[in-house]
């Protein structure tokens, strides 16, 4: 796995620091201050989720978690523990590069200003400053909840947000278990925005984990 990552990433101009286990990872992360961390959840010496939590205690560096299919619960744990995104093995190079780009952009946005005020994917346009949503030339009217949901996804465009994160931000900490609130609002949002709500292009479901607004 590391060989594949090294080959594909160095050829795209990234510099790689490799750690064989969690202990080494912590040491290297403190000494080299990497810009993105790729973390395989199956570590030989420690729980990957635990390591995520540990890194988050002192660092805001984006963490992208790599894990096998069928371990949705692990991904959710890692994301809730502070990981920024995840990739399901096996994955292709282009997918990996896209995620790294998203992570880097968000990291810069956090460092800089409040981020971009306008999010545009195809003909979906979300104006976070004006609170307007347009599909093509048509302005779409959203309920406050729907807007808050969409805005949250737009701020983290390209990144997966877990049910818990979404519920907590939009509904408040008392509702983190009510995933069906979220699912129903999401379905309504798709009906209002997507051309084919049953084959969504923008509002993507990461089943068992959360939702993601497609990257531009």
């Amino acid at each position: 796995m590391r060989r594949f990552l090294r080959a594909s990433l160095t050829s795209h101009g990234f510099r790689l620091i490799e750690a064989a286990n969690a202990r080494e990872a912590v040491t290297l992360a403190t000494s080299h201050m990497p810009e993105v961390i790729l973390l395989d959840l199956g570590l030989p010496d420690q729980d990957g989720v635990e390591l995520t939590r540990q890194l988050r205690e002192w660092s805001r560096v984006p963490i992208i978690v790599l894990s096998a299919r069928g371990r949705e619960a692990d991904k959710v744990l890692a994301l809730d523990a502070g990981a920024d995104d995840y990739l399901t093995k096996p994955f292709g190079v282009s997918e990996l590069l896209a995620r790294i780009r998203v992570a880097l952009r968000h990291a810069q946005a956090v460092e800089g200003t409040a981020g971009e005020a306008l999010v545009q994917i195809d003909d979906l346009r979300i104006d976070l400053a004006q609170r307007h949503v347009h599909v093509g030339e048509r302005e779409v009217h959203l309920t406050p909840i729907e807007y808050r949901l969409l805005a949250l996804l737009a701020k983290h465009q390209g990144k997966v947000l877990t049910y818990r994160q979404l519920l907590q931000e939009v509904w408040g900490p008392g509702h983190v278990a009510h995933t069906h609130y979220l699912r129903v609002r999401m379905a309504e949002l798709r009906k209002k925005l997507e051309r084919e709500p049953a084959r969504p292009l923008w509002l993507l479901t990461e089943q068992g984990v959360g939702y993601r607004l497609r990257a531009s």
Partner: protein, 896 residues
């Protein structure tokens, strides 16, 4: 030339088996004395201490020191089992704790007083039965016993000492002993110890004891004890000879047969037979002959007979029951058939005229005995007075019959009086004969005798001159009286016998019918639960009892699986009885020797070495089973056991059938996997090596090879994912984590996942506006749709539209995935969902797991998935889920 005798191979085999058995089984050592006070307990403790010193695990079960200091001193340093306290009639008894001993499992346990009778409520009535159970459990036992407690010597000793000992130990137990040590002192010494107060005697026994402890008695007892021990020693020698091939052994062709009846005197016959058989080293048989000419036994007699037969059994006889018209016939026939050489019968105790009248058993036996030696032994004189009691004397003839008989005579007299002018007196006498005959026929012996008596009186009074007096002048009339009386006796005897035979036949018929009905109802039942129900019902009917069928569960503990009437429970005591029966394979409980205080009697269900359970009966009468009921019960147990065994075997056959099928499946899986897993790997390896080794490949070819690698690895990934899914489904490690999910999200997410495969294909989703949220595991259910869409994409041309319809009915939610492709080959609709089954499209790759996974997931949600061909062509897959029991919590109104 004399050939050296070669050892008989059978004898060799016997020896090996005997040695094996002796090594394996627990050892019993008996310390044998001729009277209390000879020092048996002391000696036993000495030996035990020596063994303890050698490191044996010795436990004192029960040892009575009776306050003797020397004995108590020996107990020091030995582990003593705490006694069990039993409340009995206001006293607290301290008894041996069998269960604690079994739980403690020492290598050797000491038990004083082998002949001790346990109080009511103990597991066994006698301590020697405790000993047998300990031995069965593999624990060596040391025990003490005095000569007067030996069953077969009981009579002899009663004659010598005039004290009858009630607590006896069967001889078989002594024969079971691996070692007998005689503890002997001279009678003088014993008497001296008695004077010194070193012999313990309970107060109430002092008077009897003074009679017992006389020099003459003690000498006789000592002789008996010595002789008895010598006999066992001799039998040891005998065994040794046989084992070690010393020829010139005893001819063992002797066989003793003893006729046992319900008479108390029979006990003495049994003991005599035992002594004779022991003396001859011959096997012996106790036979009871049930005769149809005599009335069936009353309860008390049946009990006595049981006691006698049990005694014989405990003395080592095999017991058989014969039946026939008289006693002599079947007895002799059995004796001949089984080569009995000696036949023991009792001396008649009744008056001689009865023999003249009915024929004498003894006479018949002696006459028919041929070359069988007949031994006649007198009964016990002190009990001779007890009359034989028959069932018919008490119950079968209510007072009504007697009243009817009297009425009959009155009517006859009235008729005779009316016809007096027409006929002479003797003719009228005939009329009475008819009355007597009718009485005999209708009401049996007692009433017919009454009728005869009344007839004679009435005839004399009314029809014989001088009339209206009881005086008889004519001697010819006396003859008439006598004849009348005799006829009535003959007739009544005859009809009574006929009736009895008839009743016998009815009882047998009933028994046969009961068993037949049981076997019919069990018939081809192969389900143990149903069989148990049938067995319980029949047992309850046949014995007028509550019946329980118990079988061992997986942990080997007995549990009630059927009762009749239904839903009864078994108390812990009764369950204990059942467990005992299950462990020991013998009848136990109410009315038997083991745990007689229980409410139930238990029989084991055994076929050969396989024990499948226990039947427990709680008779409504609260009484134990009679001898005939017992044999019926045993027959019933046997039949039930066969039914259970049959069920077990068929289950075994079924399981091995399944195993064979699994095996078949596994091999098909292996061949599929080895093909489907290797093919993509082979392609990937080929393409990758070509790219690595051949630098001159044109760009287009390189591109093609790389695409191939990507496609094949993706295929491999799908396959492995499917295999993992099916494994998780099959190992049962799958419990849906349900959430409320809108169906469009599931469909949408599935379509997004398949974006590449479905590229350009039209998908038409039709969800009713009021279609409720699904209560499902979203990840799993999404997999169902992924697999269904993938199939549709795989098996239909790319211009084909995939349709999704969601609809709800009153009892289910249905989501259908349909297409207009070639459809499903006829007859394959059901098979499609089995593992490794693929539609008949050899050109399409896959292992045939997709639909099996769908079915597993849908069924885990309590739903069903079906496939069918649509009207107008195409395939239709329906996923039907039960309506959720709850509704999702309402969305918060303040949301919007």
């Amino acid at each position: 030339m004399v050939e050296p005798e070669r050892p008989d191979p059978d004898a060799l085999l016997r020896r090996l088996q005997a040695e094996e058995r002796r090594d394996a089984r627990a050892k019993l050592k008996i310390f044998f004395g001729f009277a209390p006070g000879v020092g048996k307990t002391y000696r036993m403790l000495q030996v035990a201490r020596e063994l303890k010193a050698q490191g044996r695990d010795v436990l004192v079960g029960v040892v009575e020191t009776h306050g003797r200091k020397e004995t108590a001193a020996l107990l020091e340093g030995l582990e003593v089992l705490p006694r069990r306290q039993i409340e009995y009639r206001g006293h607290t008894l301290h008894e041996f704790d069998l269960d604690a001993a079994l739980a403690r499992r020492p290598a050797l346990i000491l038990l004083d007083e082998l002949a001790h009778t346990n109080p009511e409520g103990s597991r066994h009535g006698k301590r020697f039965r405790d000993v047998l159970e300990l031995l069965d459990a593999g624990i060596d036992v040391f025990a003490t016993v005095n000569v007067q407690h030996i069953e077969s010597l009981n009579d002899v000793i009663a004659q010598i000492t005039h004290v009858r000992v009630r607590e006896t130990v069967p001889d078989a137990l002594l024969e079971r002993a691996d070692e007998i040590e005689l503890v002997d002192i001279s009678p003088e010494q014993l008497l001296q110890r008695l004077e010194e107060g070193k012999v313990y005697l309970p107060d109430q026994a002092r008077v009897a004891a003074s009679r017992f402890f006389q020099r003459g008695n003690l000498l006789a007892l000592r002789e008996l004890a010595l002789r008895h021990t010598a006999e066992y020693v001799e039998s040891d020698v005998q065994e040794y000879r046989e084992e070690h091939d010393v020829s010139e052994t005893w001819p063992s062709s002797e066989r003793v047969l003893v006729s046992v009846s319900a008479s108390p005197a029979s006990a003495k016959l049994v003991r005599a037979a035992k002594r004779m058989a022991a003396g001859l080293r011959a096997p012996w048989v106790a036979a009871y002959v049930e005769t149809s000419s005599r009335a069936p036994l009353g309860d008390r007699d049946a009990q006595r007979l049981e006691v006698n037969l049990r005694l014989a059994e405990s003395l080592g006889a095999s017991v058989i029951r014969l039946s026939g018209a008289d006693v002599a016939g079947p007895l002799l026939a059995y004796a001949r058939r089984h080569n009995a050489t000696r036949l023991i019968v009792g001396k008649p105790t009744h008056a001689r005229w009865r023999d003249r009248l009915r024929g004498s058993l003894l006479d018949a036996v002696v006459r028919g005995s041929g070359n069988i030696e007949v031994h006649v032994i007198s009964g016990d004189p002190e009990r001779e007075g007890e009359e034989r009691e028959t069932a018919s004397d008490r119950q079968n003839q209510p007072l009504r019959s007697y009243a009817f008989a009297a009425l009959l005579v009155t009517v006859t007299t009235a008729l005779g009086f009316a016809a007096r002018g027409l006929y002479s007196a003797p003719d009228l006498g005939m009329l009475y004969l008819v009355a007597v005959a009718i009485a005999a026929f209708r009401f049996g012996r007692g009433p017919s005798l009454l009728a005869a008596f009344l007839s004679v009186g009435a005839y004399d009074f009314f029809f014989v001159p001088p009339y209206l007096t009881m005086i008889v002048h004519d001697t010819r009339n006396v003859l008439t009286f006598v004849m009348m009386f005799l006829v009535s006796v003959f007739l009544s005897t005859l009809t009574t016998r006929l009736r009895r035979q008839e009743q016998d036949a009815i009882v047998r018929e009933e028994r046969a019918t009961a068993l037949h009905a049981l076997s019919r109802d069990l018939g081809a039942l192969l389900d143990p639960g149903q069989s148990a129900d049938v067995v319980a019902r029949h047992a309850a009917d046949s014995f007028r009892a509550a019946a329980f069928v118990l079988t061992p569960n997986l942990r080997g503990e007995l549990a009630v699986i059927a009762t009749a009437p239904r839903d009864l429970t078994l108390g812990p005591t009764d369950l204990g009885v059942a467990e005992w029966t299950f462990a020991h394979g013998r009848l136990a409980g109410l009315g038997t020797e083991t745990l007689p205080g229980a409410r139930v009697v238990c029989g084991e269900l055994r076929v050969g070495p396989v024990s499948s359970g226990v039947i427990a009966l709680a008779p409504q009468s609260g009484q134990g089973l009679r001898a005939d009921e017992r044999s019926l019960f045993e027959a019933l147990c046997r039949q039930a056991a066969f039914a259970f065994e049959r069920a077990r075997l068929s289950e075994q056959a079924r399981v091995s059938g399944i195993r064979a099928k699994t095996e078949e499946l596994r091999s098909s899986l292996l061949s599929t996997l080895s093909h489907d897993l290797r093919t993509p790997l082979a392609v990937v390896t080929g393409a990758a090596t070509a790219l690595r080794d051949d630098a001159d490949l044109p760009v287009a070819t390189r591109r093609e090879l790389i695409d191939t690698i990507c496609e094949e690895t993706e295929r491999q990934e799908r396959l492995i994912a499917n295999l993992l899914d099916i494994t998780r489904l099959e190992t049962g490690g799958l419990s849906p984590r349900r959430e409320w999910v809108p169906v469009d999200e599931l469909v949408g997410a599935a379509l997004t996942r398949l974006e590449q495969k479905l590229s350009g294909r039209k998908v038409q989703v039709d969800v009713a506006g009021d279609f409720p949220l699904l209560w499902v595991d979203p990840v799993l259910m999404q997999q169902v749709f992924i697999n269904l869409f993938e199939n549709a994409a795989k098996y239909t041309p790319s211009e084909c539209v995939i349709e999704v319809q969601a609809s709800s009915s009153s009892d289910a939610l249905q989501v259908a995935v349909a297409d207009r492709g070639p459809g499903i080959p006829a007859g394959e609709e059901e098979h499609l969902f089995e593992k490794f089954v693929r539609g008949s499209h050899p050109q399409i790759s896959g292992v045939g797991l997709g639909l099996a996974i769908c079915r597993g997931i849908v069924e885990a949600h309590g739903g069903i998935i079906t496939a069918e061909n649509r009207a107008g062509g195409g395939a239709l897959f329906r996923v039907r889920l039960p309506l959720p029991e709850e509704t999702p919590p309402d969305l918060d109104a303040k949301d919007d």
